[in-house]
């Protein structure tokens, strides 16, 4: 058989443009790295990356306008439907804000947040020289763009193999990015290694799950698996093995318990802009994939996996909320908070109805922006050693910088789900969907976990506003327009979705239909 005997697949490229734009920008970024002089690389990278993301956003809008009927393209491998476009739009917006944070370099007196050369041994003389030099590793831009491209593809995959490829595209650059912090190199490298090892471990589970499902259905197509679950006589054990192992891989990425161990360590060690990207983008993309797999392929056997997801949701909310209480580091606290929120969103997944899906989509957008904004503010509170992330250093921040502390307080209130912030509307959406599907018990647990979580959010507010500032406290760095832009975007989304959530709810509701 010659290669020409294999028929070339026909691909409708139009709806793929959101991803193509981003991957194209990433590839151009590599070329920029090769051909543009070092001095000018950062601005050129910024322009290329932002152009790619904006182009992707325009493409999403065009696709949404021109393709009213959800379709499966590229041999059913890519699904272009409401959830895909909603999540891709969310990711691209988050990506723009994250790239703005990556490009910031006026915070650190010596340059950006990223190290000049990642491979130098921590603690060595070479490292000290590099810390003092004002260069930075500009590869972060193409790396982040590749990761974002993977994130766009991940929830759009209708084919488990493609989904796995997307998972790796999004993960590998992140492993690298996690190790690139300029300060506290050892912590950063440790985070990168941990993330890589555990990520690889979870990918193995994911891959093994795909194998089991292939054995069960004879296909890795989600629609085919759906059809197979409807026929009697197949080997159910393979199916459940597949569901379990696939779930492990996905639950790892969203940071659900008991696969959440890596989250605090990695979030703390990574450069904060990367943490912001991981906490918002990765979570949104992974939830998109999780929703697609469970809604599209595993719907008919819901009675078998729902108890499991109930348990995971409860455990996740509980672990996130309870462990966050004793954290003393802002980034670790936000990491546990992201775990708790993964639990809250899982209640929307468990609902397994249209309002559950639209609620989850809404929640992902709202939460993505709040958490990105919160991490953006973390980058601004600094002392001589870089970011001052210990909570005791945040004491009395509200007196020194009322505006900044006020915005951070708003994000915390949004996390806690206080009305007039996006957090309230999104929690309300997923909880009411869960109740309508009969999961009242889960919602009760969710509310208790919210109450516990509110404690540590409000504690930080009290710390910032009602306690005297520490005498040798951190300073508030004055960022450039980039960070301001990111914070303003996050702030605006958090407030607007809290006050007038109507239009986005309508949009999410319209989008909430998977193609099979």
């Amino acid at each position: 058989m010659t290669p020409t005997d294999i028929p070339a697949p026909s691909i409708a490229y139009g709806p793929l443009w959101p991803m193509i734009a981003v991957f194209l920008a990433a590839a151009i970024g590599v070329l920029v790295e090769a051909f543009v002089p070092a001095r000018r690389r950062r601005p050129v990278h910024l322009v290329v990356a932002l152009a790619g993301l904006t182009g992707g956003l325009v493409a999403v809008a065009l696709v949404a306008r021109n393709h009213h009927h959800p379709t499966l393209i590229a041999e059913r491998a890519v699904a272009v439907d409401g959830p895909t476009l909603f999540i891709q739009g969310t990711l691209l917006l988050l990506g723009i804000a994250a790239v703005l944070l990556l490009g910031e370099r006026s915070l650190d007196s010596t340059g950006g947040t990223f190290v000049a050369a990642a491979a130098v041994v921590p603690g060595s003389r070479g490292e000290r020289q590099l810390t003092a030099s004002s260069t930075m590793q500009t590869e972060v831009f193409p790396l982040a763009m590749f990761a974002l491209g993977g994130m766009l593809l991940f929830p759009a995959s209708n084919n488990l193999l493609l989904m796995f490829v997307a998972l790796e595209i999004l993960s590998l650059p992140l492993y690298l990015l996690a190790g690139l912090a300029r300060r506290r190199r050892l912590l950063s490298q440790e985070a990168a290694v941990k993330y890589f090892l555990l990520g690889a471990f979870s990918s193995a589970f994911f891959l093994y799950g795909i194998a089991m499902l292939y054995g069960y259905a004879g296909s890795v197509d989600l629609g085919a698996i759906f059809t197979a679950t409807g026929t009697v006589g197949s080997n159910d054990t393979l199916l459940y093995l597949g569901i379990a192992l696939l779930s492990v891989g996905l639950l790892f990425k969203i940071g659900a318990a008991p696969f959440q161990n890596w989250t605090p360590d990695v979030y703390q060690g990574s450069p904060t802009p990367v943490t912001a990207l991981m906490a918002s983008g990765t979570k949104v993309a992974a939830f998109g994939a999780l929703l697609r797999v469970f809604y599209v392929a595993f719907g008919p056997v819901r009675w078998d996996w729902r108890p499991l997801m109930w348990g995971v949701a409860i455990l996740t909310m509980g672990v996130g909320a309870v462990l966050a209480i004793t954290q003393t580091d802002v980034k670790r606290m936000l990491a546990y908070s992201s775990i708790a929120h993964a639990g809250f969103i899982l209640t929307g997944v468990v609902a397994l109805n249209r309002s559950g899906l639209s609620g989850s989509l809404f929640y992902l957008l709202a939460y993505g922006f709040s958490t990105l904004g919160a991490f953006a503010i973390v980058t601004l509170v600094r002392d001589a050693d870089g970011e001052a992330t210990h909570l005791s250093q945040w004491r009395g921040l509200g007196r020194r910088s009322p505006a900044l502390a006020g915005i951070f307080a708003l994000f915390l209130l949004a996390f806690a789900g206080i009305p007039l912030t996006s957090g309230f509307t999104s929690k309300f959406a997923v909880f009411s969907a869960a109740i309508s599907s009969g999961a009242t018990g889960l919602v009760v647990v969710g509310l208790i976990a919210s109450a516990v979580a509110a404690f540590f959010y409000v504690r930080v507010i009290v710390l910032m506003f009602f306690e005297a500032p520490a005498p040798d406290g951190p300073t508030i760095a004055v960022p450039s327009v980039l960070t301001y832009g990111a914070i303003a975007l996050a702030f605006a989304v958090t407030v607007v979705l809290g006050v007038i959530p109507g239009p986005l709810f309508t949009l999410a509701d319209k989008a909430a239909l998977f193609v099979r």
Binding site: T237, A244, D304, V322
Partner: protein
Amino acid sequence: MKPALAYAAADGTFAATWLLLAFPAVGAAILLLGGRRANRWGPVLACLAAGAAFVLGLVLFAAMLGRAGDDRAISQHLFSWIPVNGFQVDAGLLLDPLSMCFVLLVTGVGTLIHIYALGYMAHDPNRRRFFGYLNLFVVAMLLLVLGNNFLALYVGWEGVGLASYLLIGFWSARPSAATAAKKAFIVNRVGDVGLSIAIMLMFATLGTTSYAGVLGGIGALGANSGTVTAIALLLLLGACGKSAQFPLQSWLLDAMEGPTPVSALIHAATMVTAGVYLIARSAPIFNLTSDGRLLVTIVGAVTLAIGAIIGCAYDDIKKVLASSTMSQIGYMFLAVGLGPAAYAIGILHLLTHGFFKATMFLGAGSVMHGMNDTVDMRRYGGLRTVMPITFWTFAMGYLAIIGFPGWAGFFSKDKIIEAAFDKGGTSGWVLGTVALIGAGVTAFYMTRLMIMTFFGERRWDPDAHPHESPAVMTGPMIVLALGSVISGFALTFGGGLQQFLEPVVGRSAEEGIHTISPTVLTLITLLVVAGGAAAAYRQYGTQAVPRTAPQAVSPVTVAARRNLYGDAVNESLLMRPGQYLTRALVFVDGRGVDGVVNGLAAGIGGSSGRLRHAQTGFVRSYALSMFGGAALVLAVLLLGRLG
């Protein structure tokens, strides 16, 4: 009897109605947000903003006079405010003759007080903030009288409460000022609860809060029905709070802690008149409930008596004026409680009172200004020659309030007494007699104030160097004094005001049957007033006034000096039980609720601490726990399948 409820659209000149609110609102915003930059020109801007609203009010007034009587209620839709299913509230304005009266009073007298304050507050470092609050006060009051639904009124109502809190406590460094501000705020809250429940009741029964819907539809509930009476009584409670009527009158005297222009603003142009407005606006509701009306008259009569008695006992010039306000508002309540016959008279008295009370407050401020802020009248005396303009303007206010023939009060207060007698029956006689005696007592304490302040020997403190106030202060006083003289005549000439208000509050029973012939009653009133004034002259004009208040006095005086134990009653009836309740709740909360909560928190915190140990930081243990988790997931799915 029913007011015209089909409101005309705001076109032509009336399209500018919203600007009435916008001028002072912008002024307040610029002053309060403008920062130090606005320090120099801010106060003048505030005066201009109030003045602009007044001029616009005059223009609208002229335009309104150009329309036919039934066509004078103009409604302006601003925007859809709360568009929830089944609960539609549109933000809109209603400019009809009733609100027009208030607009002119609030902006006109308000502007004069603004100008006066330019001089009075000239040396205060926080002048800009003060004028910002003044503008805020005017906005809130205008919103209160211009809203076309009860919810907008409520917003204005609360805004007035807030502005008064800020202004009474303006010199917040003084503990007494801070306490007085708090007291005014809290007592007002009690009334506000009544108003808010009344609005909820309206919505629950009628499904709307707009004037058109409520006042037009209330008739369907039937006269004297329980709901109507309940709404009326709750509205009355709200009105009592804002207008310092019995039993919520105690805050008004303490509110004198605010700068004098604030007192003038609260007493003459804004705030305390809001209660009268509320009842006059809700005329269709009160018309349906005779019990409600009777209670309004009783509240009015009781307060007018209390205010008059307290006024006799105080030596503090501002507190005397404050008690007199209480008493005069009592007259207005009495009038509006008498029903359709006397609404217009109540409003008439409100307008004339606005003039003469503002005159006297500004005069008192002028005296204090010259006497190192002393308020004790026993340290005054003989100021007539040193402060001639203050004296003469104050005298005009004095003659107006006691109802000297030809002066403003003569036209308004005598009408109220007359209307009270005309109510007929026992209640009419009782109310009329109280009002009549009240007039005599008013003459007594006002004459006392005049004599102690402007006549007799000089009992000044050694360091007092009284002098006439600057023109920026005396100017407004002269204008207001002119109003005190002519407003009564001008407003009643040819039945002017009554005809003007007729489309809103109904026809006055001018030609009704009189219990006592008006001429006879006028003579009796004048005699009583003369008697009161003579008694005051005998006691304070012919004998020397001691520099310290005598202690050996009648029990009545002792009681009056203590506000007729109003505070004591409040304390024992409301505050003490409240405190005990709070303490009991705190105990339950501390031991019971907190115990549970703290126990839970400690439990969660403890488990958090223990769980934390699982987070070892070693990849190998993380991987192990992941593996364990995966095994668990598998087990659950497969075992669930088997079972």
